[in-house]
């Protein structure tokens, strides 16, 4: 859009705005004074109180007197007003929550600031040290506003639909028009429209109803409460679903690696971000294996234990009455119990759980000769590693996967671990999210896309969007220009 001038006629101006804002579910056009004055605004961005009190009420009192824009300005009891003839500026301001007044016959716009400050809650599940201290609330319009505030882009689309014959839940589908992939949009739309169900209460229930493989333990759509993370994801072509009454947004399509990313990775410097992300991925992958490896080594493969470990391992195991398999299962079970109890308890009592757990497990179990202290360390390490998951549900998946792994290791040793790993890998390879491979870019191998999808690199490296879920707009900025460093005097 160049600096095209505004049309003078009200009708033309309204059509222009409606055409330039694609699929915006909440552009409101009011005409007053017998179609001589148009009031345009984006509903979710405008503070309705201000709108009524300071804009619509004075205008209605004016009732039909023909007037000029300066006179209108006099009339409105608001501080921030702006006159402009530039059409694209009008669009920008509309998306920032300003109200656009158009007098028929004047090729000029009066913009009035009446934007709403969206409410936000504190992030409870996905905390970030650096970055937005904001999370979605349970109000759909408010959540849409939160995203719009981060991306006031004319091509940010927002479609509304209603799901559930009884619950009639309002669902908002948001995406960036020229970045999201048309095919994905159609798939998702179709799935939502074909859903016949009496009630959908929360977004996580919805995501389970419309995913590709409902039998798997792995979720194929990501739930997040962070608007900034959603904004990052939308820039990569993902689609967001928001539900009225849910503070979790659903992102699709997703790869396995998306579940290991946080907004923090983007907010820290790229090399630190890559380190943290690498640490997290490593921790989560090893968390499923670590106890199983202990069980396998102690049950079958005493050969692989290093000399320096033998002494301490044997001594710690001497008083334990069970074979390693039962010992490990018992301890994992206790850890899960602790976690579950901690999650169920109110936070004030939850503190005591930690103490009880620490004493019961750490001290008493070893003293009583119930478990070996090395295993306690490993199980705690595994639990710790699973808690690095930025996504609570994904952490859960990792913890559940350990049990079959441990049982396989206890039955067949390293062979069992290899079998379990192979099955897991096969399962992941067959999975898809909105029809896109779940392990992309590892499989199918797209080395070129690693830097956008898996690693966290310096700015020039992600100048182009990855091939995953690609839309029309393939580049984010010019890589060549990003590499230039210009001094101020050039």
């Amino acid at each position: 859009m160049t600096n095209q001038p505004l049309p003078a006629s009200l009708k033309a101006a309204v059509t222009f705005v409606q055409d330039s804002m694609p699929v915006t579910a909440d552009l409101v056009v009011r005409t007053l004074h017998g179609h001589s004055l148009g009031v345009l605004f984006v509903n979710s961005l405008v503070d309705s109180d201000t709108l009524q009190r300071a804009i619509l009420a004075p205008l209605q009192r004016l009732a039909g007197r023909s007037n000029t824009l300066p006179e209108l300005m006099e009339l409105l009891p608001l501080g921030n007003l702006l006159l402009t003839r530039n059409a694209s500026e009008v669009l920008d301001y509309l998306l920032r929550g300003w109200v656009y007044l158009h007098l028929h016959g004047h090729a000029q716009a009066l913009l009035v600031q009446a934007d709403i400050t969206p409410e936000k809650s504190d992030p409870q599940r996905e905390y970030a040290v650096i970055g937005q201290q904001a999370a979605f609330t349970e109000n759909l319009d408010n959540n849409v506003t939160l995203i719009r505030k981060l991306l006031p882009d004319t091509s940010l689309c927002h479609e509304s639909l209603t799901i559930g014959t009884r619950s009639k839940t309002r669902v908002g589908m948001m995406y960036i028009g020229d970045v999201a992939n048309e095919q994905n949009l159609n798939t998702l739309r179709q799935r939502l429209q074909e859903l016949e169900i009496d009630s959908v209460i929360s977004s996580s229930v919805l995501s389970q109803l419309i995913d590709d493989n409902s039998t798997s333990v792995f979720a194929q759509m990501l739930l997040t409460e962070r608007p900034d993370f959603v904004a990052y994801a939308m820039n990569e072509g993902k689609i967001v679903l928001l539900l009225d009454g849910s503070s979790l947004a659903v992102l699709a399509p997703c790869t396995l690696w998306d579940f290991m990313k946080t907004a923090e990775d983007y907010n820290t410097r790229w090399n630190l971000g890559m380190f943290i992300r690498g640490l997290r991925i490593l921790a989560m992958l090893s968390s499923t294996q670590i106890t199983a490896l202990y069980v396998a080594a102690l049950t079958f493969h005493y050969q692989v234990i290093p000399v320096n470990l033998l002494d301490s391992l044997i001594e710690s195991r001497l008083r334990v009455p069970f074979p390693p398999l039962y010992e490990a299962l018992l301890l994992e079970f206790i850890i899960e119990l602790l976690r579950e109890a901690g999650a169920r308890l109110p936070s004030k009592v939850g503190q005591t759980m930690g103490i009880v757990g620490g004493i019961v497990i750490g001290e008493a179990a070893v003293q009583a000769g119930f478990t070996s202290n090395i295993l306690i360390m490993l199980v705690a390490l595994g639990a710790l590693a699973s808690f690095t998951s930025p996504n609570y549900i994904f952490g859960m998946v990792i913890r559940v996967l350990r049990f079959p792994m441990i049982i396989l290791a206890g039955w067949f040793g390293a062979l069992g671990i290899a079998l379990g790993g192979a099955f897991l890998l096969l399962h992941l390879l067959r999975m898809s999210s909105l029809g896109h491979p779940y392990l992309w870019p590892m499989y199918p191998l797209r080395l070129r896309n690693w830097r956008e999808a898996l690693l966290r690199m310096r700015a020039p490296a992600y100048a182009n969007r990855s091939d995953y879920a690609q839309g029309a707009d393939k580049s984010r900025f010019s890589a060549a220009k990003a590499k230039q460093k210009r001094d101020i005097d050039e």
């Binding site: 080594a297 050969q303 000399v307 044997i314 001497l318 074979p323 039955w411 040793g413």
Partner: protein, 376 residues
């Protein structure tokens, strides 16, 4: 869909009906850390095993058990009868052979048995001991709680950072079968209440035919193993160094100790018809110590010391090679060089050992000293 059901059913059944694999739960096994073999007359062998003692209340960290049988595995089975736990060999680190056994009947049979055992790692160290292995193993050394682990670490650090040529089971087997190379293993000796590596055993095929002091391990190692930093102490006559001394020397000989940065042995067959070998060794080192006062501030002092060292070491290498030729033992792999340069040589081990005695070996060591300490 049907095939999928069938597949999952088969998998589930295969898990439940395959029975159990044989487990070796760590604390229910007797881990053998070290074995020793002696001659026991009548073609029999006395096998001694040293095991981890896993009872924390026991006085000793290890348990030694010995028996006589016709084979090594047989002796282990006899030993097993007197054990509370099943003896397993997966943690075996050191195998000792008495020098008597090594000289008389050779070690290959016993070593081969070990290497065929899937549980035994091929990186265990093979060593020869002076006297009976059983006596050496059943003695309680005041400094070491676990002789097996101690010896393993002793040999390991001396092969990794010292002057002892590497002698893992894998290398021993390889050198015994390869045409044109003989194994070499360290000699372990009990001295009073201490145990130490006292020298290096030289082999012809798998039989021990002689020994050489540990000092000479440096030369053998330089031609056998990949170059790692090491150290050496060289004693030499005062004469060539006399102009460098600040004071009159107190002793007959001057001792120089240096740490090498790298040493590279190179063997060239210069004349295949007359079996002439050029054996050169390049050493880059930093001097650590010299027993006499020398003026290191002069620019050519280091070069002169290096020259004297080169001469002395060439002599030592010459003596070692002559010794090897008289024993008809070839630990540095001259035969391999011959076999790879001369076509259709049809070399076999016996043929090479007779040829070796007739070979002309010209050694040359050149030492470069790069540093002589922090204060220049």
């Amino acid at each position: 869909m049907k095939s999928r059901h069938f597949l999952s059913l088969t998998l589930a059944l295969s898990l439940l009906t395959t029975g159990c694999m044989r487990t070796n739960i760590l604390e229910q096994t007797g881990l053998i850390v070290m074995v020793g073999y002696d001659e026991a007359g009548d073609g029999k062998i006395r096998g001694t095993s040293l095991l981890y003692q896993v009872d924390p209340h026991a006085k000793e960290k290890t348990q030694v058990i010995a028996s006589v049988a016709s084979s090594s595995k047989g002796s282990r089975d006899v030993n097993n009868l007197g054990m509370a736990k099943k003896m397993v060999s997966g943690q075996l680190r050191v195998a000792l052979y008495s020098d008597e056994l090594a000289r008389k009947s050779g070690m290959l049979e016993l070593a081969d048995t070990l290497s065929r055992d899937a549980n035994v790692g091929r990186m265990l160290y093979v060593a020869v001991c002076k006297g009976k292995a059983m006596d050496l193993m059943s003695f309680r050394y005041p400094e070491t709680a676990n002789l097996g682990t101690f010896l393993y670490q002793d040999i390991k650090q001396n092969t990794h950072e010292g002057i002892i040529p590497s002698s893992t089971l894998h290398e021993f087997i390889r050198d015994s079968y390869e045409h044109g190379r003989d194994p070499v293993v360290p000699i372990i000796e009990k001295q009073e209440k201490k145990i130490t590596i006292s020298g290096i055993a030289l082999f012809q095929d798998d039989r021990m035919v002689g020994e050489t002091p540990a000092h000479n391990g440096f030369y053998i190692k330089a031609f056998r193993d990949s170059s790692r930093p090491s150290y050496l102490e060289v004693k030499m006559k005062n004469a060539p160094l006399r102009p460098l001394f600040r004071t009159t020397p107190k002793k007959e000989e001057t001792t120089v100790v240096f740490a090498t940065l790298n040493q590279k042995g190179e063997i060239k067959l210069t004349d295949p018809a007359n079996l002439k070998f050029q054996i050169s060794l390049h050493v880059r080192a930093e001097m650590l110590e010299i027993s006499e006062q020398v003026d290191l501030s002069k620019p050519d002092t280091e070069a002169k010391i290096a020259d004297a060292l080169s001469q002395q070491m060439t002599q030592e290498l010459q003596q070692l090679l002559t010794h090897l030729q008289t024993l008809k033992s070839d630990p540095i792999g001259l035969g391999e060089i011959y076999r790879s340069t001369v076509r259709h040589s049809n070399l076999n081990r016996d043929k090479w050992h007779t040829m070796l005695a007739k070979a002309h070996l010209t050694p040359k060591v050149d030492v470069t000293l790069v540093r002589s300490g922090v204060v220049e």
